[in-house]
Symmetry: C2
Subunit: 72 residues, 2 copies
């Protein structure tokens, strides 16, 4: 694989978060996750679960599949 | 939510698996997961991780985002 799926998802989340104008802490609050966890997800350090992917997507008002679009 | 994301993903995996003509056991072998785990994922009983979603998608020769398409 060209790039780690965890890193790709993390970058995608970061991109959408910045479009919304939120800090990691604001995203964390919006989706009910811890800010250190959100930071680790954005850096591709966590193997995030489906339920948390969906939670983050909803907070960012995107579809979960949009967060996965660059992963192959 | 209208329907559990875990159930939706499971149904989607099952649909693609049947298109390929595989049993759960054949899919499990192809993606290096246990057949009882694959069965539980298809029934929506497991909160599957990103890495395993990607693994299953690759085995089914679809994009991970295709597996997530019906989840909102």
């Amino acid at each position: 694989m060209s790039k780690n799926p965890k890193k790709k998802l993390g970058e995608r989340i970061r991109t959408f978060r910045k479009q919304v104008g939120w800090s990691q802490e604001e995203l964390a609050e919006a989706c009910g996750l811890h800010r250190t966890y959100v930071g680790a997800v954005e850096r591709g350090e966590r193997n995030i679960s489906l339920v948390n992917i969906v939670q983050i997507a909803r907070s960012l008002k995107v579809k979960p599949s949009d967060l996965m679009e660059n992963i192959s």
